[in-house]
């Protein structure tokens, strides 16, 4: 459902010239599976996921989401994904119902079907008691639920969550994670990025550790632990980071000597 091959993305920066935010990233994610993208801030998680959601164009490689190439058919991709991140906010001056309805309409769902779908989604997320509350009056938990409702209103086969729990209290975190698990059980293809080891352990069947814009390792968690001889994800993560740092410094020193 999601196929990423040698994906690279460079940005131009006035100071440093072309900077590679992501380089040679490849992974695959199938329906009924949660693929975890684990990495610290600035590792390239958001850039990767934004490329999958078509708002950024890759400078290298390709990505196919729900059967469509993100560069060639961005509209078709956008129709088939739900995207949610800590940054995707909700409108202050719209009620929960209005906001979800608005996006449902943008996805082209006919009015009656949309109403039925929204009733189902609002019931699933237990949002009926704040249907008519304006975004500005909502608690963080309510906002997060509205975001999830917005993400799934068109029943997309592919869901992309970019650090959906960052900055949330533990109760809301738990709700969000529970809902993501339920979505997996519905057979959705889910990509999930985080910097939290425990979330990865709880949710993901397969994980990729991303650091300095490159995938350092990927595979089912137990296989990765075994391959690297680490007792848990946290130890695995730090081992990979140290290895990457060492390689980077060696490469930097090599480049320095060469020039």
């Amino acid at each position: 459902m999601i196929l990423v091959e040698h994906l690279g993305k460079s940005f131009h920066d006035a100071r440093r010239g072309w900077v590679e935010a992501v380089r040679d990233v490849s992974f695959e994610c199938r329906p009924g599976e949660i693929f975890g993208l684990l990495g610290p801030n600035g590792a390239g998680k958001t850039t990767t996921l934004r490329t999958l959601s078509t708002v950024l164009k890759p400078t290298e490689g390709r990505a196919v989401v729900a059967g469509y190439d993100v560069v060639e058919h961005p509209e078709e991709v956008r129709r088939r994904i739900g995207f949610m991140s800590a940054g995707t906010g909700i409108y202050d001056r719209m009620t929960a119902w209005e906001l979800v309805e608005y996006f449902g309409r943008l996805y082209g769902i006919p009015k009656d079907a949309l109403r039925d779908r929204m009733e189902a989604v609002f019931a699933w997320l237990r949002m009926d008691d704040f249907r008519d509350v304006l975004g500005s009056k909502m608690s963080t938990g309510m906002k997060q639920k509205v975001s999830i409702a917005r993400t799934v209103v068109h029943d997309p086969p592919v869901l992309i969550f970019d650090e959906p729990t960052s900055g949330l209290d533990i109760l809301v975190q738990r709700t969000v994670l529970d809902k993501i698990l339920e979505l997996r059980d519905m057979g959705k293809t889910v990509v999930f990025s985080t910097h939290s080891m425990s979330e990865v352990e709880r949710l993901c069947s397969r994980v990729a550790v991303i650091y300095r814009g490159r995938l350092q390792a990927q595979g089912p968690i137990d296989e990765l632990l075994a391959a690297h001889g680490q007792p848990n994800v946290e130890e695995l993560f730090f081992a990979l980071v140290e290895k990457a740092d060492a390689e980077y410094e060696a490469a930097g020193a090599g480049a320095g000597a060469a020039s």
């Binding site: 100071r15 708002v55 995207f83 940054g87 906010g89």
Partner: protein, 713 residues
């Protein structure tokens, strides 16, 4: 584009604005409250205005004759009959001083005026009675201070009073000499004002109204635009919208319509509020007192008629559309509301001079102003308000059409902005000039960017302008200077291409081309001539060239310059220099990240603008159209040179027209070619044949001469 999505987004954004208190205040409440408050304020200020007493010291008043009386016989004032109104006389208080002691000293009198002790000091000379008796003339010095408003007005009033007094004296003398009544006053001027009440009213409104209206439609567009772009980014909803299936163009058009609605609403509410306040003020002014001045005041404040108000609304919509699109494109760059506000100042700084023209006296709507963005609309609004309907209707379409075009271009720019991930996901970075320049040169690509192309154009214009200023101060002139001016046009793109691209030769399209392209270039230049002659005549009919300008240009062309030299300087040199700049650097830059068609049209518009700035504004049209032709030729041949041939032949034909027609006339066949040899107008069949050939060549280039993508790489 899915219009249901556009409508959906428009409705949401509109509702969002209606639920926002700040926007509601700026768009609706502010204009409704502003004008009544200003109106009430003006009335209160007028009532509270206490004029400084105008104190006139009359030195040697005792020397004045009894009749006719200059001063009132009793009290401290002038003879009221010397003024239009007795109130006017009452405002001047007279202080009589003997011409002795310190008042006899001119330095002291001047000091008194300077210190403000007296608004004016009038000196009645000692020999006045004798001179009067002898019927000789006599000087009456008045000290005043022109920079002090009160003193200056006092002086003017005194002069009026003295003039009437003088007339009285002359009248006395006439009676004494028993001369006929018209003797001393052979003529009497009676001014008859042809202006109607509406026009008098309009001239006051006409200055303020367009200014406020244009400003308000800009303000009305700016705040919502910032909220809908920067605000959305700040709240994190922009990304949500971008990942919905709605396309960028749909998002922009939806937002644009919402901003446009806000802008038009603001402007119309301003119009209504201003009008109602004006009416109210006018009524108050009439009620306050009878007499002419009050009626004049009422007329001055009478609002524009309903009819002109309607036309104004029609005109406002494209202007508001232009502002809305510009504001959206600018606001798209901002990361936060706060940053958005920063962009307001430069936007206003650019717009204000364009609107200020309506406040300046003596500036009338003409063909040129009608093409200037904002100014054309502002001046047309003024014409409508003042009631100069003839001008207004003549220029309605010439103003409306370019404004619609500008609005469309601005909207395209906004869509471009929204499609640019660098604009939407801009990270803040520290800016410092030197590393930035170093970075631009280090990371240069094979072709310049669009921004660099536009910068190149701006540099060409400014460098040429500076060059012209230097020439003016040094007084140099002549044909060599014309060539040197072309050198400036060449220098800028050359330097930029070498500095900013890794492939300057490719950027400037310096490689050769297949022979057929040269043939097409030359043929098209010859074939287009009869057409462009017709077109030029049309342009000159619409936008007449002043005789002074024409004579300057004719002297340049028709001097004693030998023909080969004229062809070199006016045809070959410009062909090379302008082609390197416009079809080389600028077109290459504009082609990056844009459809070829748009790039050609944009480069042609810039080429037209070059002629507006450096030569005659009337040449804009022909240059822009020929620019499209040469642009197409350059893109298809992937070489500059066929365009150079076209350009050189085109200019060469213009330079050599006189000689050529003379030749034909001597051969006796000029009549076969030209229906009007003097103006270079061809017979209709030639024009038609030329048009057919040009159309065929363009069609060939555009449709059948495409290269495959693989080959173009």
């Amino acid at each position: 584009m899915s219009w249901s999505n556009v409508l959906l987004i428009f409705r949401r954004e509109g509702m969002d604005q209606l639920r926002d208190r700040r926007t509601l205040f700026m768009v609706v409440v502010f204009p409704i409250l502003l004008y009544p408050i200003i109106g009430a304020g003006v009335l209160q200020f007028a009532a509270a205005l206490q004029e400084k007493p105008r104190r006139v010291v009359v030195v040697g008043a005792e020397r004045l004759p009894k009749a006719p009386a200059l001063l009132a016989p009793e009290g401290e004032g002038f003879n009221p009959s010397l003024f239009d109104e007795s109130a006017e006389a009452a405002r001047l208080t007279v202080e009589r001083r003997a011409d002795a002691g310190e008042w006899a000293n001119p330095a002291f009198r001047e000091e008194a005026v300077r210190d403000g002790d007296a608004s004016a000091v009038m000196v009645i000379p000692a020999d006045l009675p004798e001179q009067f008796a002898a019927r000789a003339d006599v000087a009456i010095p008045i000290h005043y201070r022109s920079v002090d408003e009160t003193s200056k007005i006092t002086y003017l009033r005194l002069r009026e009073a003295l003039d009437r007094w003088k007339a009285g004296i002359v009248e006395e003398r006439r009676k004494g000499d028993k001369l006929p009544e018209g003797y001393a006053r052979p003529i009497e001027v009676r001014g008859l004002d042809a202006a109607t009440t509406q026009e008098i009213g309009g001239s006051v409104w006409g200055r303020i109204f367009p200014f406020l209206l244009v400003l308000m439609s800009l303000t009305g567009a700016f705040y919502p635009a910032v909220d809908l772009c920067a605000g959305e980014k700040e709240r994190g909803t922009m990304e949500t919208l971008l990942i919905s299936p709605a396309g960028r163009a749909e998002i922009v058009v939806g937002k644009f319509l919402a901003v446009l609605a806000a802008s038009v609403t603001t402007a119309v509410l301003n119009l209504v509020s201003m009008g109602v306040t004006g009416l109210q003020l006018a009524r108050r002014a009439t009620a306050m007192g009878g007499g002419d001045p009050a009626r004049e005041a009422a007329a001055a404040l009478a609002p524009p008629t309903l009819q002109s108000a309607l036309w104004m609304v029609v005109l406002l919509i494209p202007l508001a559309a232009f502002f809305s699109a510009i504001c959206l494109a600018v606001a798209a760059m901002a990361r936060s509301m706060k940053e958005g506000q920063y962009y307001m100042t430069p936007l206003y700084l650019v717009c204000l001079p364009l609107i200020f023209l309506t406040m300046a006296p003596g500036i009338e709507l003409n063909a040129f102003y009608s093409l200037v963005p904002v100014t054309g609309v502002a001046l047309l609004l003024r014409a409508l308000i003042v009631g100069v309907y003839l001008t207004a209707f003549r220029f309605f379409v010439p103003v409306l059409l370019p404004t619609v075009v500008y609005a469309w271009l601005a909207l395209r720019w906004a869509v471009d902005q929204f499609s640019d991930e660098n604009v939407l996901f801009r990270e803040s970075e520290r800016f410092s000039l030197v590393p930035w320049i170093r970075g631009v040169i280090r990371d240069r690509g094979p072709r310049p960017t669009s921004a660099q192309a536009v910068l190149g154009f701006a540099l060409i214009i400014t460098a040429s302008w500076l060059f012209a200023q230097v020439l003016l101060t040094t007084g140099l002139g002549g044909i060599g200077v014309v060539a040197a001016g072309q050198g400036v046009i060449l220098l800028v793109p050359l330097v930029m291409a070498f500095l900013l691209t890794t492939d300057p030769a490719g950027t400037l399209r310096l490689r050769g081309a297949a022979g057929r392209y040269f043939a097409i270039g030359a043929a098209a230049a010859v074939a287009v001539k009869p057409l462009s002659a017709e077109f030029e005549r049309l342009v000159q009919w619409a936008y007449p060239i002043s005789d002074a300008t024409r004579s300057v240009f004719e002297s340049l062309l028709k001097g004693d310059t030998p023909l080969p030299l004229a062809i070199l300087v006016f045809a070959l040199v410009p062909a090379v220099c302008e082609e390197v700049a416009f079809r080389g650097f600028i077109l290459s830059g504009l082609q990056s990240g844009r459809r070829t068609r748009s790039a050609i049209v944009l480069s042609a518009l810039l080429f037209g603008l070059l002629h507006v700035f450096l030569s005659l504004f009337q040449q804009f049209f022909n240059a822009a159209i020929l620019g499209v032709l040469i642009g197409l030729l350059a893109v298809r041949s992937r070489s500059l040179w066929p365009g150079v041939v076209f350009h050189a032949v085109n200019n060469g034909l213009a330079v050599a027209t006189g000689a050529w027609i003379g030749l034909l006339q001597r051969a006796g066949i000029a009549g076969w070619v030209y229906r009007d040899a003097e103006d270079g107008l061809y017979h209709v069949p030639w024009v038609v044949a030329g048009a057919v050939v040009v159309a065929a060549l363009v069609l060939h280039l555009w449709k059948f001469d495409r290269r495959d993508v693989g080959e173009a790489g």
